[in-house]
Structure formats: C-alpha cells, structure tokens
Amino acid sequence: MNSKPNIAASTSMGVGGLLEFEKPLARIQNDIDEMQREQGETDRDVATDVRQQKTRYKATLKRLYASLTPWETVLVARHPKRPLSTDYLRMIFRDFAELHGDRLFGDDPAMITGFARLRGHKVMFIGHNKGKDVKERIKCNFGCAHPEGYRKALQKMKLAEKYGVPVVCLIDTQGAYPGVGAEERGIGYAIATNLMEMSRLRTPVVCVVIGEGGSGGALGIAVGDRVAMFQNSFYSVISPEGCAAILWKSAEQRKHAAEALRLTASDLLKFNIISEIVPEPLGGAHRDPEAAAANLEKFLNTSLNSLKRMTLTNLIRRRQEKIRHFGNFFDDPASVKQPAKATARAASRASRLGRTLTRTRTRNVTA
C-alpha cells in the first residue's frame, strides 16, 4: 500500500536541523552558542563550561537515541540529511559504471543500477534514489520508482547472474510511485516478477534497508540471501500515516500506527524478517555518515565473503527455505499431529526439485 510522496520529515524539523524529540539538545546547543559569544565579547574563559555542556549534549543524545519510539525512528529514517544510497555509493564503492537501460520503456532515475567494486568484490549495485536537492528529488519522484525502475533492476540482476557477480540492493523508498503511468505499465506485475526472479537468482543477493522501507516498493528489490536494516531505518507494510488514516480514520494517529505496525529493525529481527541490524553512529547516520558507511561496508563485505563460499545450489536452496518460513505465524494443529508424513512429503518434493524444503514448522509466537 502506498502513500502519497511527500517530504513529511521536513515538517517535523525544528531549530538547527533538530527533530521534534531532540528539543532538549537545542537548549544545550543554545547555551554553548551563548557561552562562545560571551567568550568573544568579555574575554572570560568559558572553555571548561563549554566542555561540560558538550558532555551534557552527548549524554542527552545518547539518552534520546537509546529509547527511540517507533515514530521517532520513522522521523530519523526520513531525516533530510540522512545519507542516501548515492552517498554510500560515493563513500564505500569504487569505480561505479552506471547502467541505465531497462530495455522496455525508459530510464527511471528513482532507481540507480550499475557495476561497482566494494573492497575486493565486484558487485551489481541497485539502489533507490531519493535525490540530494529539491531539483533532483522532483526528478526522481523522491525515490518512488515506476515499473521501469523495477524492470531495470531485474535486467541488471540478470546480467550480474550471468557473470556470477553478487547483487547489493540498498532500499530507501516511501513506496512504488502511485500514478496512472505506473498502473498502465504494470507496476504490480513488475514488482511480482522481481519477487519471483530474485528468489531464484543464481548469484548472491544482499539487501539493506538504509532509510525508509516502504511496502511493496521496498520489497521489490529486497528479496535475498541476507536482508538487513540500519539500526534507525524502518520497514513497513504501509506508512504510519496511511495506516492511521485507514484504521483510525485520522492521520493524527500516526504515532499509534507506527507503534502498532512493529516496523523497527529490532522488532523485525524478532520476527525473523531480517537477519541482521547494521549499527549506526550515536544520534543516527546523518550525524556521522562516514561511520555509518564504514558499518555498512563491513556488513556487506562479511556477507559477500560468506555467501561466495557457498555453492549456487546450496545458496538458492537456503534462500528459498528462508523465504518459505517468512512470517509463519499461525496455529496449525494438523502439522503438529503428522510430522512424519510431512517430512516424507518434503523429502520427495526435494528430490524432484533438487531442493529441500521442510514442511512448515509452526510457531506459536508471543513476541
């Protein structure tokens, strides 16, 4: 489900690029600024006071970020200064050879694809592009891709598969673009095809939600062997605003919706929907993009190293198995009663397909 592309984050910005919930920091920053002004005017030595206030600033930042509410996480993930896929491309990838063509309709600037190098790895880089400035943001629809964007991504993944190049997907979108052209050109079919093809792509696929993981538009490039999230990113079936409007009949209830949807990285790790959380520097990736990039680089490098060691058959089998158990949260008395029969059936199916698939293990989850 989609919500209208917007620059919601900008409306929540307060003084000095601080978010609403960061107000305590503004007061401390004001104090520091005042002391430094005073220093210039009166020659009084304020170095100790400033140092004290800076310590206080850091402690407050730590406290605020140690207990972000889901809604605050959404705000951080949408922070206008948060590093984008193009920033990571610049910071940790080298020798980027952008490839534009989807071979069908046109180039979608909301999706960036091409060969790149990450440490010792050749990779196919795929990433949503939200745009750095207003002009670019409008051009690429704030990172909301059209069908041609998803088809371009798949076309490049197939190219990577042909030459055994691993795929790296960086996810950062409010959702697929909700427009007439998108429907005319089959946005549903484009996303569905990516889900199907990525599940059997014969090369390693590593996906990281770096900011916003908006519904089907995010999932359309987020099926892989490893799916991770940055610590303060979020991933949701619908935007908190959209959910609030439908279920509470009031967009004002977005904070409640953000809580109810369980969209944070730590919640999704508990539900086994992601496999790892990539840590962010104190106060979020936007406060120290280089540090965030270093963490991302480390995660990607480690993942690629271990995935490249696996045989392709094993890789695809494990990917399929993992996807098979996605969100298996239901009661199934039958499968508990007949485990032997289920295993036998799974084994026969596996031998026919050359893939093992265990019968659904039912979990009664009280998360």
């Binding site: 489900m1 199907m196 079936v237 969100g327 199934d332």
Partner: protein, 269 residues
C-alpha cells in the same frame, strides 16, 4: 421474519443491482451465478459460492483447513485484531480469507484456491499466504494445474510486515512451480489489488479476469491525490489491464468453467 428496507421491498427476496440499479429477484440472480441479467454486473462471490460455480459438483476436497490466524503483533486499532478476526469468523462462518483444495473442473483435476472478498476484504496475512503457498506446493507434488481465483484488498495491515512477506513467500513458491513446469491459471475477480496484485495474482501463465473487476496496485484515491486530477474512465478495471497487456482474456462468469478447462487442455502434458 423478513426485514423491509426503505423502498418497502422485503430483503432477501429482492435486491438492487449495484451496476444498473434495477430491482432484481434474488433467486433469478443466484441462478445466473450472481450476474445481473440486465447489465451483466458481476457481483462479488463468497468463496464457497465460487467453488460451487467453478468446480464440478461435490468435487472440492479442501485441505489446510486447520490453519488459523493468530495475532503476532498484538495489534489494536479502534478494536483489537483478535476481536476483528472473531467478528469476521462468526459473520462468514470461515476461519480465514481463502480456501484451497483439490477439485475437478469439467472433469480435469486441479488444485483450486479461492479468496473470499467478504472476509476482511480477503486481505493477505500469514494464513492466507501459507494456504496459497501450500496450494502451489500441492500442485507441484501432484503435478496438477493450479487455478487461483484472486480477490483482495492487499496485505493485511494488522499483521504488519508478516503480511508483506507473504508476497515474497507466494512468489518464491511460484518460481518453484514454474521450474517444475507446472501450469498456473489466475482468475482475477473484483477486487484484485495492492500486495496480491503485486505478487501471485500477476504471475499466472495465463491470466483471466472477470468483466469490470477492479485490478490494480495503488489505491485510486491515493493516485488521484498524487496526480491531483480525475482518473481516466475504466481506470484499473479488467478492461484497462487487458488494454495495457497485463490480462490475457476477459471471461464472463458463465463461461469460466469452459474457458479454464480449455486452457488446461492446451497446456496439458
């Protein structure tokens, strides 16, 4: 006991067609598979009525009947998800929004899955995704054609990301069906939208749609809001999807059995 509505017509016996507004004798509409004899409006069917219409009499052997939804997120909006489920279950007599089974269509054995638009708009949560996936796997195991009658408002919000993941799960299972050479026919009915339109409902080897069924990804209001303009006529209908190349055939409900059987015969081994 018959309730009488504002127009003074006893409910149950007569109803007003949503398509043309004609007053219709319910029995006559039921005999015509709930298609309006005046304007051809295809009324939404609940899953059991669809099975009766599509499968050979008494041929449907349902499986995966024990799967019941839980409330993994402990979701609560204005009411709790648990209460919403209970309410829907008692209202519809169904446990969830899809039924799957083995059936015959004009003598041809198939695996048949039917979504139920009257159960939380057939939104897809963990159980719906699992039952669809099991029907795909059953089609692979038994080497039978798979026929899914789709209708859905999309992913089920109350199950959050667990719902979104059902899109990946069903699509990945369809990759295995495709690898095994199995036939998959989609019958898209009103409404086939959002997360279901962006997963298994779009992946059929052959995609049939009922006339005027709403088929699309994004909600029309969201789109109208984005483009700040009126939407084109027939937007996101079966006819629109056919015109743009995403549906193969539009088939009148009374011809569905024959058409599905015909495709199966062409793709038969």
């Amino acid at each position: 006991m018959t309730k009488v509505d504002k127009s003074g017509v006893p409910a149950g016996l007569w109803s007003r067609c949503e398509g043309c507004g004609h007053m219709l004798y319910e029995k006559e509409v039921a005999d015509a598979h709930f298609v309006c004899p005046e304007c051809d409006h295809h009324r939404r069917l609940d899953a059991r009525a669809r099975v009766r219409q599509l499968a050979d009499p008494d041929s449907f052997e349902e499986f995966a009947t024990d799967l019941t939804p839980t409330d993994p997120l402990h979701f609560k909006d204005r009411i709790t998800y648990k209460d919403r489920l209970k309410r829907e279950q008692s209202r519809t007599g169904e446990v969830e929004a899809v039924i799957v089974g083995r059936a015959f269509i004009r003598g041809r054995a198939v695996i048949l899955g039917v979504m139920n638009p009257s159960f939380i708009m057939a939104s897809m949560g963990a159980v719906v995704g699992e039952k669809i996936t099991r029907s795909i796997e059953r089609a692979i195991e038994e080497n039978l054609p798979l026929v899914l009658v789709t209708a859905s408002g999309g992913a089920r919000m109350q199950e959050g990301m667990i719902s979104l993941m059902q899109m990946a799960k069903t699509s990945a299972a369809l990759a295995r069906l495709d690898d095994s050479g199995g036939l998959y026919i989609v019958v898209a009915t009103d409404p086939t939208t959002a997360g279901v339109a962006a997963s298994f409902a779009s992946l059929g080897d052959v995609i049939i749609a009922e006339p005027h069924a709403m088929i699309g990804f994004a909600g029309p209001r969201v789109i109208a809001n984005t483009i700040n303009a009126e939407l084109p006529d027939e937007f996101q209908t079966a006819e629109f999807m056919l015109e743009h190349g995403f549906v193969d055939r539009i088939v009148h409900r009374s011809d569905l059995r024959r058409e599905v059987a015909r495709i199966i015969d062409y793709c038969g081994k």
